[in-house]
């Protein structure tokens, strides 16, 4: 049983450069934690702190019972897959995979057996004698994975391993990764800026911004209950509609229309609301809360249309996903808003207001 535990990790490079401010979290065996965030949010630095490539300014990295904070990376029993794969260009695939075992003075027979087992699992057996320069991007990525797997480490760290693959391949490898690491039953920490990867692979997602965890939850909850405005806007594609509205009494004003506020106390004077494009629909006669506007842009997504609607009497635009078979009027389109699907955020702090 190994549990990866981070306690109040902080990394400061200079007085004003603090990529990781104060991060605590735990990852259990078989848990797949994704660090998700835009570039510069500190996710890669956090991963390097876990790996031991950087020393934290404060805080601890603990695996199981062992405090690894001051242990060099090679003695942490963690394997890492680099974004660039970092394959040794002068070594064959087999030698690349075997390096960590050789350095640990594993008997040659065992090395060969383990390299072959891993190569079989990842379909690399026919490539063992090649150099990385002779491999395709996808094959290199597998070698990098094999290099991590062959060590049988206590913790897996992956730094945007799919970002150098083309879109089709990425989808395919994503599925394979999920299967692969489910079998390993070890803590996995995965860094990405791609929300699709985060949502599909993870058991837990930590959304990072400015060196702090904005939300740590299972992917579905991140999507349905974003903890603040940043998470709401960052997760979900197409992006959630985020509007800053004024309030009058118990209603938020949206152009010529208004939305009923849940019972907040005290009643705010202004509020930020978020509505996902799929939570809007073309209004039928039964709908109570509706807004009207004119279409300013239509984007084809194949399965759906993403329609931007300029709301009458305001400068706000709502984007809505519509089934392409439906009919609507360009100049006067009526949208229904499901009040249960509206996310309310504090206009100052950006924190979520509704439970």
């Amino acid at each position: 049983m190994a549990q990866l535990k981070l306690q109040n990790l902080r990394k400061q490079f200079a007085p004003n450069v603090v990529p990781v401010k104060d991060i605590s979290l735990t990852v259990d065996d078989g848990e797949f934690l994704t660090l998700l965030g835009p570039s510069g949010c500190g996710k890669s630095t956090l991963l390097r702190l876990i790996a031991g490539l950087e020393q934290p300014t404060a805080g601890q990295v603990v695996v199981g019972e062992n405090n690894l904070t001051h242990i060099p990376p090679g003695d942490r029993n963690m394997a890492m897959v680099f974004q660039s794969y970092a394959l040794y260009p002068h070594m064959t695939v087999a030698a690349n995979i075997a390096t960590s075992l050789k350095i640990r003075k594993t008997p040659p027979g065992e090395i060969q057996q383990r390299v072959h087992t891993v190569a079989d699992t990842l379909g690399l057996s026919h490539l063992l004698d090649r150099k990385p320069g002779q491999l395709s991007g996808g094959q290199r990525q597998r070698v990098a994975l094999a290099r991590a797997l062959v060590r049988n480490p206590e913790v897996f760290l992956l730094d945007e391993p799919l970002s150098n693959l083309d879109a089709l391949l990425r989808e395919q490898v994503r599925e394979e990764l999920k299967e692969l690491f489910e079998k390993q039953n070890k803590p996995v920490v995965y860094v990405t800026h791609d929300q699709t990867e985060a949502m599909t692979l993870s058991s837990q997602v930590a959304v990072l911004l400015d060196g702090l965890i904005q939300q740590l939850d299972p992917p579905s909850r991140i999507y349905t209950h974003p903890a603040n405005k940043f998470v709401a806007g960052f997760v979900g594609s197409p992006q959630m509609n985020l509007l800053a509205l004024e309030c009058q009494g118990d209603r938020a004003i949206l152009g010529d229309f208004s939305l009923p506020l849940p019972s907040f106390s005290p009643q705010p004077s202004g509020i930020d609301i978020g509505i996902r494009p799929e939570d809007l629909s073309l209004a039928t006669e039964d709908d109570k809360i509706t807004v009207q506007g004119s279409v300013s842009l239509v984007e084809h997504f194949g399965r759906e249309l993403l329609v931007s609607v300029k709301i009458k009497g305001s400068h706000h635009t709502l984007r809505i996903l519509i089934n392409p078979d439906l009919q609507w009027e360009k100049e006067d389109i009526k949208l229904a808003v499901n009040p249960h699907r509206i996310h309310w955020f504090d206009e100052k702090t950006g924190d979520r207001l509704n439970p």
Binding site: G74, T99, I103, R147
Partner: protein
């Protein structure tokens, strides 16, 4: 059919375009080489007779029995081997240091290049004074440190003269090697070292398993350049020792210079040039062969 004509026409244009360059190359390389070889087939010594006499390969035969030639070849080899080895070790050290991030690195990199930028004759003179037995800095320092009681004739004794020359040459050309190796070091991604560290390697293991193999092309290039330069070394020797004492630091180039300019033996001098040239070409060809091989090794492709 049609593509063939197009290709043939393109080929013709290509030849036409490189013809001027080829002509110039032939004029400055092929002609002097051919002329030197032609001259080496004659006996022509302006000291004894003016008319050249065709003597076939007599000059080359004479070389086999010429002790001074073999001695100068030996001196050149000793000088080249020792100085290049030291330069490689020091150059690698400097390159590794300069590759680290530290305050004032830009300045250090520029400053390190100064010895190499100096004209050899000038720095040769300086070193001759440094090693001067009466007024030299070296002797003065040794005196003050109490290591010696009487002046050492650095340039007046064969082994010490060679030592002094090597010191001066190492001082001058180490920055050159350091610079080439530094360029190589910078092309090695830091990811590789991090991956290797996570694999459990110590810095020494990383140096041997990552740095050295990936730096092989740069090491070979540096060696190749330095070999060609060092094998033909002239100015440094001429200024510091003039080949002495008693010919103990006479390099091939110095001997050739003496043969032609002092003894006015043009035929034999030309033969010496030809042989030295061939030796150099062979050495360079061998190095180039290994170079191309190491490139293939690293990238795994041609």
């Amino acid at each position: 059919m049609e593509t063939d004509t197009i290709r043939r026409r393109e080929k013709q244009t290509g030849w036409l375009l490189i013809a001027p360059a080829l002509l110039i190359l032939a004029f400055v390389f092929l002609y002097p080489i051919g002329r030197a070889f032609w001259l080496s087939l004659f006996t022509q010594n302006l000291g004894t007779q003016l008319e050249p006499v065709f003597s076939g390969f007599n000059n080359y035969a004479r070389m086999f029995g010429d002790g001074r030639f073999w001695y100068s070849l030996w001196n050149t080899s000793v000088f080249t081997t020792i100085s290049i080895s030291l330069e490689l070790v020091f150059g690698m050290t400097f390159a590794l240091v300069l590759n680290q991030a530290f305050w004032g690195r830009g300045f250090a990199r520029t400053a390190a290049l100064i010895p190499w930028a100096l004209p050899t004759a000038v720095m040769g003179l300086a070193w001759a004074w440094i090693f001067n037995d009466q007024y030299g800095v070296v002797n003065d320092l040794l005196f003050r440190l109490g290591i010696i009681n009487e002046a050492i004739t650095w340039l007046g004794e064969p082994t010490r003269a060679m030592f002094s020359l090597v010191v001066a040459d190492v001082w001058k050309t180490t920055p050159f090697i350091a610079l080439i190796l530094l360029a190589g070091l910078q092309s090695i991604s830091s990811d590789l070292y991090e991956a290797h560290a996570i694999d459990g390697a110590t810095p020494i293991q990383s140096f041997r398993q990552i740095t050295l193999p990936l730096l092989a092309p740069q090491i070979l290039i540096a060696l190749l350049f330095r070999f060609a330069q060092s094998f033909g070394v002239f100015d440094l020797i001429q200024v510091m020792t003039g080949g002495g004492p008693a010919g103990s630091t006479e390099m091939v180039s110095i001997y050739i210079y003496a043969t032609v300019r002092r003894y006015l033996d043009f035929g034999y001098g030309a033969a010496l040039v030809t042989v030295t040239f061939l030796l150099l070409i062979i050495a360079v060809a061998i190095a180039a062969f290994f170079l191309s091989k190491s490139r293939i090794n690293i990238s795994g492709e041609r």
